[in-house]
């Protein structure tokens, strides 16, 4: 077991993958928080796809003009230009035409991706780009230049985000206020988009075009389920990014699978675990909250049962009148004692002063509804059961309306006093 963990660590390729992947994942996680909160997830996808045209363009230009083969900075610059051109095209088309932004994004990124694929195959004798590597990534074959590029990107992007944290926070949360105190909201948008492009470009070589968007948004979404503050969300997101890379790389070595795929699989599993177990926003917590809730109807039925019974009412009696499974009835009774509506004793349950007030309200509603039903000609044998459903409707001025309409009756159709 220990060997399975230690053995890969001695391999250079694994170390490089670990370091390079972690650097990219931290910065992708941090920037990803803003991407998630601004609902820009699709943009990350668009940028990564557009990149291939930029890489091909950069490769071609550097080779034709300067004779460099696979010039890394040239391709990087090309990717950035392609990414920014895509964003500009998207916002231009969605502004001047009736086509909405999501559709425009889809059109532009597939179009530019296609352009890149066609260019790479036409010029296959001049440029040597392995499309498969580009699409799937090659984290286990990370070159030293890739490491340096991603380290540089990480430092630049993280510095910008940390220095202008408040600016990004306010511009994301309330752009109107941000503009009103003089923040350059539009410029901040451009800066953020450029940061996302940088991150995407440096991540593509590791996890590939298709999985980049996952690395950008999944750790951020995972952190979102756990934090109520943006700064903490960013820190957590960075950590989740790193754990995805570390966990994914070991998964990849143990299972002998593709690196990028293993990382994103681990990342997604991590998300699912948090989605299920997050203390506040998780599914389990939600389910428990729902389960703990006692339906108002049961509470009201218990109240009126005890009121009609006058005095301490044994559990048996309550059980006969309130049709509710024993377990949830017990829970309701417990909760009502906690809330100070009931007083429990050996013989059974009694209303407290608060409980009496609540019960009177329900009973009053019940009897007024019965009177109303009798007036509109409901058969006598149905009065009670129908009113039993209707008594829960008494928000706002409903009951006062009934009372007024019926001319403030003192007794219900059965001749009982209306409280």
């Amino acid at each position: 077991m220990l060997d399975a963990i230690l053995a890969p660590l001695t391999e250079t390729y694994f170390q490089k993958a670990l370091i390079g992947g972690s650097i990219v994942a931290v910065v992708a996680g941090v920037v990803g928080c803003l991407v998630v909160l601004r609902r820009m997830a699709f943009l990350g996808d668009a940028l990564s796809h557009a990149m291939i045209a930029g890489v091909a363009g950069g490769y071609l230009v550097m080779k034709m003009l300067f004779g460099y083969e696979a010039h890394a900075p040239g391709m990087l610059l090309g990717s950035l230009i392609a990414a920014i051109a895509t964003v500009a095209l998207i916002s231009f088309v969605s502004r001047v035409s009736r086509i909405k932004e999501d559709t425009t994004i889809g059109i532009m990124y597939t179009g530019i991706f296609a352009l890149g694929v066609v260019a790479v195959s036409i010029f296959r004798h001049y440029i040597h780009i392995d499309l498969m590597h580009f699409i799937m990534g090659d984290i286990l074959g990370v070159a030293d230049t890739d490491l340096w590029v991603s380290a540089f990107t990480a430092v630049v992007v993280l510095s910008i985000i940390i220095l202008f944290f408040r600016h990004f926070q306010l511009a994301t949360f309330d752009p109107v206020m941000a503009a009103s105190i003089g923040l350059p909201v539009l410029f901040l948008d451009y800066v953020l988009t450029t940061c996302v492009s940088l991150v995407v470009v440096s991540a593509v070589s590791m996890v590939g075009v298709i999985l980049v968007v996952g690395l950008l948004i999944t750790p951020a979404a995972t952190a979102y389920l756990l934090s109520d503050r943006l700064d903490r969300m960013m820190i957590l997101s960075g950590i989740f990014g790193v754990t995805s890379v570390v966990g994914g790389l070991f998964l990849c070595v143990w299972l002998d699978s593709a690196g990028g795929g293993a990382i994103m699989l681990f990342c997604t599993l991590q998300f699912l675990v948090v989605l299920a177990l997050a203390p506040k926003y998780g599914l389990l917590a939600r389910w428990l909250r729902l389960k703990r809730m006692v339906p108002q109807q049961v509470v009201e039925d218990v109240l009126t049962t005890i009121l009609r019974n006058e005095g301490v009412t044994p559990l048996e009696t309550i059980r006969t009148y309130v049709q509710e499974p024993a377990k949830s009835l017990n829970k309701a009774l417990q909760r009502m004692v906690q809330d100070g509506l009931l007083a429990a004793s050996e013989e059974g349950y009694a209303l407290t002063a608060d409980g009496q007030v609540e019960a009177d309200k329900v009973l009053r509603a019940h009897r007024l509804w019965e009177s109303y039903l009798a007036q509109i000609g409901t058969p006598k044998d149905q009065l009670h059961s129908t009113a039993h459903h209707l008594e829960h409707i008494r928000e706002g001025e409903t009951i006062e309306y009934l009372d007024e309409k019926l001319g403030h009756p003192r007794r219900d159709p059965h001749g009982r006093l209306i409280p």
């Binding site: 909160l37 202008f164 408040r166 105190i181 003089g182 109520d228």
Partner: protein, 262 residues
């Protein structure tokens, strides 16, 4: 006027909070606001009313300095709005806020201080102090560490009001604070607005409900492209005026005007 010393006006204790002079704002050929002139005095609770599409939101944007007027100007505390930033604190409409945003009550209040914090430092002690004081004023200090989505509608509105107070601006601009809250909350918000006025704030509130407008505000400003009236409620909620502006879209004028008079 001519006999006045030129600087006398500047030395007056307080100028008008907002001066709008011959303001025309257009989108293409359509004028959203046409020749609007109004002076809003300080320490007032002013309701801005008018039908949908009457230019209320353009009016807000103009006061925040977001629109370029075709002609005319907006002065905030006597200075052109384009040249001063953050003099008007803005309280957004409830519907436009992302209530799931990872942010606490305390952090929202602190945002009011962002303009005063240099970009290279983190919030200082006095900034945090100001945020806490603002929260205390709207009685939300006990909720400082709550995420904003966990609050009730009225509490949420109060938090944003605290942010506006922390900003230290003399003028607060509120976009439909009473939309979608129940009667009790409406009272609570109104109470806080009253307290803000007591400490010398000028509040400009966009309001939709004519039935309560007369009761809530010191002055009403009735716009539909042009300024139809500005003055005390009983003068603005006048049947002839309302039927002209609302073009029969309201049938309870007599009821309203009665309330305005009483």
């Amino acid at each position: 006027m001519t006999t006045d010393h030129p600087t006398a006006a500047n030395h007056k204790k307080r100028a008008n909070a907002i001066d709008v002079e011959h303001l025309t704002v257009s989108y293409h050929a359509r004028a959203a606001l046409l020749d609007v002139s109004v002076s809003i005095e300080p320490d007032q609770l002013v309701g801005v009313i008018g039908p949908n599409g009457a230019g209320k939101s353009t009016f807000i944007k103009a006061i925040l300095g977001f629109v370029k007027p075709d002609i005319g100007s907006v002065l905030i505390n006597g200075r052109n709005v384009q040249r001063v930033k953050g003099q008007v604190a803005y309280v957004p409409q409830r519907g436009s806020v992302d209530w799931d945003f990872p942010i606490t009550v305390q952090e929202v209040a602190l945002m009011g201080r962002y303009q005063k914090i240099p970009w290279y430092t983190s919030p200082r002690k006095r900034d945090r102090q100001a945020a806490v004081e603002a929260l205390e004023m709207v009685r939300m200090a006990d909720f400082a560490d709550r995420q904003i989505g966990e609050l009730s509608g009225g509490q949420q509105q109060r938090v944003f009001l605290a942010r506006a107070l922390a900003q230290g601006s003399e003028i607060l601009l509120l976009d439909e604070p009473f939309a979608g809250v129940d009667a009790a909350t409406e009272r609570a918000i109104l109470d806080v607005l009253g307290r803000a006025k007591e400490v010398g704030k000028t509040l400009v509130v966009v309001h939709h409900d004519l039935a309560t407008a007369g009761e809530y505000f010191d002055k009403l400003l009735l716009i539909k492209q042009r300024l139809y009236a500005y003055g005390p409620p009983e003068a603005v909620l006048e049947e002839e005026l309302l039927s002209k502006v609302y073009e029969g879209r309201l049938r309870i004028f007599s009821d309203l005007t009665k309330r305005g008079e009483g």
